[in-house]
Each structure stands twice: as C-alpha cells, then as structure tokens.
Symmetry: C2
Subunit: 324 residues, 2 copies
DNA sequence: TAAATAGTGTCTATTAGACAGTATGTT
DNA sequence: AACATACTGTCTAATAGACACTATTTA
C-alpha cells in the first residue's frame, strides 16, 4: 500500500505527508440590546468572496498554540489589542474550544482542518474601520440562515460528534472594501429580513456553538461573561433569556441564582437609578469563584413534557418495561 | 509584517504557509472484568520509542474526514476490520470528538495538531498479533500515570478548553518488536504497580477523555455502548460504577433507570442463569431510542457536601449575599 | 439451608416552579 | 398617583436517596 509506506515514512518525518492546513475560527457571542449577536467578517477574497464568515485564520505553525491563535484572532477582529483597556476587556472574555471540522472538500483550495472556538464577551464597541477588523461586525443570530442543511457526516448525539466544516480566511488587513454597518441599516437592523448565508460550513459551526452556549450556562457560571464586572440579577436573567430564547420567572430565577454557592457575590451596593419607567434599584453583584453550578440552572423542560392531546404521541411501542 | 504577507498569500494558496501536520488520536474505553480499560499501542520508533501511546495516526489529506480517520484508526488498532462480525461490532461503538491539542513543541519533529476522539466499546477480544494491531493492548486506567503534570496552557473550566497535546504515530505495521501481553503478566495484571507513563501529552488527553466519559453517561444513554446488545440492569450499573469509581445503590439505580423514558427497553426475557453463587435471574434489556436522559442520572454529590469538620473550609469570605 | 442479589415499596429531605404580595422609584 | 418591577414568602409536585422487605437462585 502506498499509504502504509507513507505512514512508515512519516514516523520519521511527518513532512512526507500531503499537507493539511489548520485554521482557527471563533464563534464570538455577545449581547446587544438584549439580543444575542455573533461576530462576523466579510470575506474580501474568494472563495465565498463577499459572504460573511466567522473570524479566523491560519494557525502560525511552530509559533503558537491553538488557544493562542484563537485569542489572537479574536483580539484582531474586535480591534481589542494594543491599548490597556483593551487588554483588560480581553481578560474578562471566556474562550473555550468548540470542536474541529475537517471534511476534505469544504475548502475548494485544499484540505483544511478548522479548529473552532467559542467566546462569550460583554457588549463590546463596534469594530472600528481602519483596523484589522475593518470588515467585522456584530450580527444578531436571528438574522442568519442557520438552516440545518450542511449537516454532513457524524452520527453521534446532537452536540457530540463534530465533522464537516473547514475554512480559510484572510487573516489580516486589506483596507479597501470596508463595510460600515450603521445603527439602522447595518446587521443590527431587525428589519433586515433576508437571512444571511454564511461562508463555508460556518452555519454548522455556529449552530454547534449556540448549542454549546445554551448547555454551558446551565452548569457553569459563564453567563456572567456576557456582562461587565458588576451586574444585577435581572441583567443576568436577561442573558439566560437571550441565550435560551425563553422567558424566565423573575422571582424564581432570582432566588435560585442566590442559592447556588459561589455563583454571584454581592457588592453591597445598588444601581444608581431605578431604570426608565421607575422601579426599585437593584443590588449589584459580581461573579463568584464557583467553576461549576451546584445545583445547575436547568432550562425549562420543553422537550419531553409537551405531549399535548393534539398529537397523542405515535403510541410508544414497548418502551421502558414496567413489569410483565 | 511577514506573517501578514503570508496571510494574504494564503488566502489564495494556503500552501504558502509553514506546514502543520494533523493527526487523529483515539481514547478508546472499554470494560474488562468490571474495570475501565483504555486501548494503547507501543511505539516502535522515536520519538518516545517503546512508550505506550494512544492509537492514532496522520489524517490522510484530501481523502478522509476527521470522523472517518478516527474510525479507521480504531478499526486498525483493534483488528476490527475486514470480517463481517467485525463490522457489526464496529457499528455498535460510540465515537465522538473529544478536542484538539496543538501546542507547537509537543512533537519534537514538527508542529503537530492532534484531534482526539473518545470511543466507548463493549468488551472486545485482545488485539491479535500478526495484524496492524500487533503492539496494541488494553490497559486498566488505574495502571497508568495520569499525574496532573502536563497541564499546559488553557485557563478555562475543567473540561472546557483544550490545549497542548500532539502526537505522531506509526500508523501501520512494523512486525518486529511485538509485545504480547499475557493474562498474568500483561497490562491487565493488577500487580503491575509502577504506573505507566504515556508518550507525548497523551496522559492529558486521556484525562480529558475520562472526564468527558464520566460526564457523558450522566446525560446520555451511552453507558449502554460499553455493553453488548442485550444487558441487565445490574450490568448497566457496573458500567456506571466503573466509570465513576463509585458504589451505587442497587435498588435506587434500578428504579431510576427504568423511570427514564427511552433509556432501556425490556426484551421480555431474563438471563439463563442466576450467577455464580445464586441469585435471581435478571431481566434483560437493550438500549432505547432516547439520545438524552430526562431526567439525568446525576453522579452522587461529593464535591460540595464533603466539608468534614477536619478542614473547616477556609472561611467563606462573603459568598452569596443573603440580605444586607 | 445459607448466602447473595434482583426487584419493589415507602418515607424524608431537597428542589423546581406556580402564585401571591410588598417595597421601591420614575414618569 | 400609577405603573413596572425588585425581591420575598409560601405552597405543591417531582425527585434523590435511605431503608426495609420479598422473591429467587445456586453452592
């Protein structure tokens, strides 16, 4: 076999192999005006020229780890690098690996394996024109086309196996063709009805990232990563409501958060004002030192319990045996 | 900048980049004699010659996806390929992506990014000599050195971020230097007291895989992937006890498993015999069609509740605010 | 018969969630 | 004054786990 021979060679010198490119892509999520947004960049060059894509770029071989590459890409595309306050903001951002995508045919140029990362960030300023992030913008996830099309390989559980997906980005400048989304006509405009189609299989990656985010805030205190250092319980509730796309019971949520040890720590103060149309000042908190939530803040059950009388369930054949 | 120029070039031709090798490694877990085992191969060549490593090999660029490469490696190293019954056995095995590891200095030869997979398998025969899997063997995880040393980069939550880790394997034959573990002196021998050190950062990858496995069987029915098609509730309990390394209450476990919709389905029959020293025949079940467990089978709480009077906890400073 | 375990019943502490009610602050 | 909402109290259903008990099988 030819590949066997190659294997043998590669054990001495992996360079004997056909090359594979490795990129790092970031699903960066934030909350703007109470809605979940994702950071996208507009591709200036083919393939998928003009389409929006996840920020990312090639791993610098021999120079950086995957984590470092992800942090670098995020900083570059948000413009958060250089200044002191930018570094401070970066330090509060949560970055975790999401999964790798590597079907051979996703990038027309060559076989590209993309390692995806998931980021939770507080409300950040718009990427400024004139920087590396010139073509970057925050988009509401509801404005994107996340049709379950691209579902390639994989046969495992929902958020388990990963596959497909690949990318190749223009990792840095190219000052022309700058897109400047305005408050009313840009990607933040809810009136923009035609769903945006993403480049490569980034819709699939985004979907996986959203699934992970929704599950993550159940068991970890990472919902606080969407907020600034000090926050109120209602603000924290808004994070959960936006990520889960569910209305939560204010009273029960409040009591539950405070009952989880190490989730939040009171600051002893309250907000300055009561809000727009008048309400009690809320106490402020900051994140506690817990890394896991015990007990967890489970999502409202809606998968099982919705057996409404209309669709009486296709008659369970012989499910769980309950005595013969 | 040189790298910027490279980025620009790479947007046309990613081959302009310094090459990175991509490997796929598999953390394959199974149960033998009630204990958790992992599949390892002995490296025939440098680096780490003679050390045990996770099975894996280079991704065949342009030919296969990551999932396919992982399945191929698993089949090769277990010897489960070719025959019909082997294919049948493979179809029952659970394979999911675990994470990617890519610090630049883990492989002395070059920058290697390793995509790790996690596999749950039923008790399989020993890899046969004379095959690709000649140097492969199942090792009890308790015999391995999993000291939390290699903890490289990453700053996220326990099972969140991944980093470090890399590999490079001799993907196929090399019939000399075959290790043939016997029942008494091989890796299955509990008397083997000196912990085995793994090659590369495979100890870290294995640790991540074990963490994932322990969490996974809480919310998914994948514990059944460790068993054959038909099994009893006590057998299923043995899986949980081995993976969690915890004794579970037989009665409560039994009732709980049957109360989760879609977890197991009764076959209507029982085991042939009652067991060694006499006990009731157990009813047999097979896996149901649930993909997620509702409610989950949570691990016995032991992280929070163990504040034994001895170490009175470093005096919680001002945890959760409980009224001013 | 003895030993060991499959499987069931029951009780209690904890938790999720529904609901109600009071206090607070802005328009 | 009126409205919206922060926050707390209370009740109920569901669940985890402890414990006890019966039935079953082999040495």
């Amino acid at each position: 076999m030819d590949t066997t021979e190659q294997d043998w060679l590669a054990s001495y010198d992996p360079r004997a192999y056909t090359p594979v490119a490795v990129t790092v892509d970031v699903v960066a999520l934030t909350l703007r005006h109470g809605r979940l947004h994702v950071l996208l960049v507009e591709r200036a060059l083919p393939p998928y020229q003009g389409r929006w894509a996840l920020p990312g770029g090639f791993l610098r071989a021999g120079e950086e780890s995957l984590d470092e590459a992800a942090a670098r890409e995020f900083a570059e595309e948000t413009g958060l690098h250089g200044t002191v306050e930018a570094e401070a903001a970066l330090s509060r951002i949560h970055l975790e690996q999401l999964g790798s995508y590597g079907t051979p045919d996703r990038d027309p140029r060559m076989h590209v394996v993309s390692v995806a990362y998931l980021a939770f960030a507080p409300d950040l300023p718009d990427p400024q024109a004139g920087t590396d992030a010139a073509r970057a913008a925050w988009h509401p996830v509801t404005a994107l086309d996340l049709r379950p099309a691209g579902r390639s390989e994989t046969a495992g559980a929902p958020a388990d196996t990963h596959g497909g997906g690949v990318d190749g980005r223009t990792g840095s400048t190219e000052p022309s063709h700058t897109t400047e989304p305005s408050e009313t006509t840009g990607p933040d405009d809810p009136g923009d009805l035609t769903p945006i189609e993403l480049a490569f299989d980034h819709a699939r990656i985004l979907t996986d990232g959203l699934d992970r985010a929704r599950a993550k805030i159940e068991y970890s205190p990472l919902a606080t990563a969407f907020l600034h250092h000090d926050f109120t319980i209602p603000e924290l509730r808004a994070v959960y409501e936006a990520v889960w796309d569910e209305k939560l019971h204010p009273g029960n949520f409040h009591r539950k958060v405070l009952s989880v040890p190490g989730f939040v720590e009171g600051t002893g103060t309250t907000t300055d004002r009561g809000g727009a149309r008048g309400r009690p000042r809320a106490r402020t908190y900051h994140a506690g030192d817990a890394r896991l939530l015990h007990p967890a803040l489970l999502r409202p059950t809606r998968s099982d319990p919705p057996p409404d009388p209309a669709t009486p369930t296709p008659a369970p054949p012989t499910r769980t045996t309950i005595r013969p």
